[in-house]
């Protein structure tokens, strides 16, 4: 403790403050500066007298002969006085740097599960594609075409049917369309949800011919009938040789980015489109406007 520095405490009263100020003013600038250094060195965060510190600074600020602050000398004195503290701090920084490197390496190791997830997800996606197509590497590309008498799809890609083991068709009946779709693992999201007034569900049949699956749901209204047929192909041949009867005109109705082909077949209507790996057909006693409304309903709830 500096001989010149006597610990002072400001209790906060105006009288004591004036006395301290008078005391400080009697000291030289050099003494004030030294006393302030000693005061700061000896004080801690817990016991520093802020009021006294303010008085020191106030009086020093009044002095015109206050020397310019020597930063380097001050820092040298600080380092010498607190050498141990600085060494401890340097050591702490090194440890922190080392732990950051370890955590960075750990973080980089954490990236690997994401890579694994993406890789697995990519494999799953490819398997889903193969599963939905039924045959590995088979993608259907079809061009719609028609004559005056029939509508057909011209398949432009060659199918890989090597893996298909043909069997005679197995025909099953189901209690509902949903049950049939579930039985054949066909996506239900594009199934029409609206039917013309008066029509009610009667039956649904499913036929699995190994290279194609066909579901036909029948809706009746008295003697009138509407059929919804969903076909899923695993090879191109069944699709390529499928014809729809029609009168000459074909109305192309585009909705949700998909072209739907609407045609009259004498007193009935035929509608067909392809979504994903399925071919949809609506046929029966309904108007063109009702057919369009059924088409629209197939996409309800889709983003």
């Amino acid at each position: 403790m500096s001989e010149k520095w006597q610990p002072l405490r400001i209790s906060g009263t105006n009288g004591e403050t004036a006395q301290i100020q008078e005391h400080l003013r009697e000291k030289s600038t050099e003494d004030l500066t030294q006393e302030l250094d000693d005061f700061l060195d000896q004080s801690t965060d817990l016991d520093m007298d802020i009021g006294l510190l303010d008085e020191y600074l106030k009086i020093i600020g009044e002095r015109e002969d206050f020397p310019e602050f020597d930063v380097e000398n001050s820092w040298f004195r600080f380092e010498r006085a607190h050498q141990d503290l600085l060494e401890m701090e340097a050591s702490a920084e090194q440890q922190s740097s080392a732990s950051n490197s370890v955590s960075k390496r750990k973080k980089s190791r954490r990236v690997k599960p994401i890579q694994i997830f993406l890789t697995v997800a990519a494999i799953v996606a490819m398997l889903m594609v193969a599963s939905s197509c039924g045959v590995i590497d088979y993608i259907i590309h079809a061009i719609a075409g028609w004559t005056d008498e029939v509508f057909y799809y011209d398949v432009t890609s060659e199918s890989n049917s090597e893996d298909i083991k043909p069997e005679l068709p197995e025909v099953e009946t189901y209690a509902s369309l949903e049950e049939a779709l579930d039985a054949y693992d066909i996506d239900t999201q594009y199934v029409p949800k609206w039917y013309p007034e008066g029509f009610s569900f009667e039956k649904v049949k499913g036929a699995d011919a190994s290279d194609s699956i066909k579901l036909k749901a029948t809706y009746n209204c008295g003697k009138e009938q509407i059929g919804l047929t969903i076909r899923q192909y695993k090879s191109s041949h069944a699709l390529e040789l499928n014809a729809l009867e029609k009168n000459p005109a074909v109305d192309i109705y585009e909705y949700s980015g998909i072209q739907h082909y609407i045609m009259k077949n004498n007193d009935t209507i035929n509608v067909t489109w392809i979504t994903g790996t399925e071919m949809y057909t609506i046929a029966g006693n309904l108007s063109i406007e009702e057919a369009k409304r059924m088409i629209d309903s197939a996409y309800e709830g889709q983003e």
Partner: protein, 152 residues
């Protein structure tokens, strides 16, 4: 290297999710100049195709949808042909009946097929006559299937 693998995996994921869920259908109108109405009061759609199984077996499929419930529906006739010296030759004729199941009654949809025992290495196809309507006087359509090579 890790970033490269991650990007490739992401691209595969995106590509895998996009293919197989899109089927392009473009319209081509190939109608001729004359307007002829030849739709059907009984037939809505029909199809026939062939597929080769193992052991020389050739599967002939047919599928027909009627405009409503009809008295008779299915394949009235299937003629299997073999390609011999560049000429298609009839090798088997099968007539459809209710008893053999090629025809059914009082329904609006029928899918069926037959199996022909062919010779591995030879090409086969079938000419299928489908029918829908009353017991007589309905509508028939003739479809020639794709050709397939019988496998051993």
């Amino acid at each position: 290297m890790k970033k490269y693998v991650t990007r490739i995996a992401a691209l595969i994921l995106i590509f895998g999710l996009s293919i197989g869920t899109t089927v392009s259908a473009y319209a081509v109108n190939s109608s001729g100049g004359d307007i002829s109405v030849q739709a059907s009061d009984y037939i809505s759609s029909y199809a026939a195709w062939a597929s080769a199984g193992s052991g020389g077996k050739v599967y002939i499929y047919y599928d027909i949808d009627a405009t409503g419930d009809v008295a008779r529906l299915g394949a009235k006739l299937i003629v299997v042909q073999v390609l011999d010296a560049g000429v298609w030759t009839n090798v088997k004729t099968v007539t459809g009946t209710l008893s053999n199941g090629m025809l059914i009654s009082n329904d609006n949809s029928h899918t069926g097929g037959i199996v022909y025992q062919g010779t591995a290495g030879k090409s086969y196809r079938a000419v299928v006559t489908v029918y829908a309507g009353p017991t007589s006087g309905g509508d028939s359509r003739i479809v020639t299937t794709n050709s397939v090579t019988a496998k051993s």
